[in-house]
Symmetry: C2
Amino acid sequence: MNSPSERTRVRRNASRAEYAPEIVNGILDANRICHAAYVESGEPRIIPTLYMRRGAYVYLHGNRQSALLRHLAAGGVAALSVISVEGVVVARSGFHCSMNYHSVVLFGQGEPVPDAEHEGVLEQFVEALIPGHLKRLRRATPQELAATLAVRMPLHEASAKIRTGDPIDDPNDLQADVWAGVIPLLTAVGLPVSSGDLKAGLEVPDYVRAYGVRP
Amino acid sequence: MNSPSERTRVRRNASRAEYAPEIVNGILDANRICHAAYVESGEPRIIPTLYMRRGAYVYLHGNRQSALLRHLAAGGVAALSVISVEGVVVARSGFHCSMNYHSVVLFGQGEPVPDAEHEGVLEQFVEALIPGHLKRLRRATPQELAATLAVRMPLHEASAKIRTGDPIDDPNDLQADVWAGVIPLLTAVGLPVSSGDLKAGLEVPDYVRAYGVRP
């Protein structure tokens, strides 16, 4: 899996490309939002959406009327992209200023999630988004299950592109009196805000307080 | 500008759609990375890239060999998407769990940046990425200018989609013993890391120390 097809081969800065499944999967598992692109009437469409990886598939879900999801459920192709940006690369020339990032592009044909797995996949989406929450919840109603469409794309054609570390400046610029380095960017988790209509007496549970804190 | 064409009209949760230019521009100006989708050989392609808004255009730039940039410079169409995720919405049912976000989708035909504006646009990209840095830098060399392609897309067809605030649960679930609310997510700026080959005696400048801190 994850061979560099012509569609997912990294063409710019190819030395930053990775095709190993453990690299691709690691980036996919560390993020939650992807952008999905597909073709409608010959024109590009793009939409951000939640995803999760399970095994050799990426799963998407949402409203059953979603044009993207219907397209994928019918076997249409899509290109998915995931990126996390970890820093601003401050170089000694504008040309070499950049960003540090981990990104994945996936190309593939969609397929519907089998009916027998539908409810389980929706439950895994809840657990993927808010670990620990699912077991506190009632089960989905038949109406909720019917209103939601889940699809998946195989991870056959995926590539990762990664930039890390210092700026790479022209040798001629290294003695310039210009500071160079990296400004780290990271995602922070704020204190939970209880809903205005929260039932009296409920406290913020541990799995919410610990959100995003890795063991 | 920013009328909801059939291509950018928000179809799911239309009540979360915004088309006013000040809303769209505000979201564009608060972010730096977009995803661009275009069609190549009938198939969708997607790529994350830096952008900036100036007036009624969104600008992209990069290596002159980039397939996306060449496509746009030749007048090809693309769909761009920008999203910032601000929170995880913890609801009392899986169905209503969600995320809070500000997003923009832009559809349009590309055009090359006029030659007379090429160097200025590249300088504005540096200033947009690292405010205060440009004036410390040497000018771009003819080789650097020639290696870089800058294109722009008019903001004619753009829409924003926004979700903020509490979960919206089914009335029947409000008395469940399940905590509900929002877990805020935000981008944090770490302490600058000087480049390993930094010239001796250079200190981190104020504009780097203050990165991302708004007045």
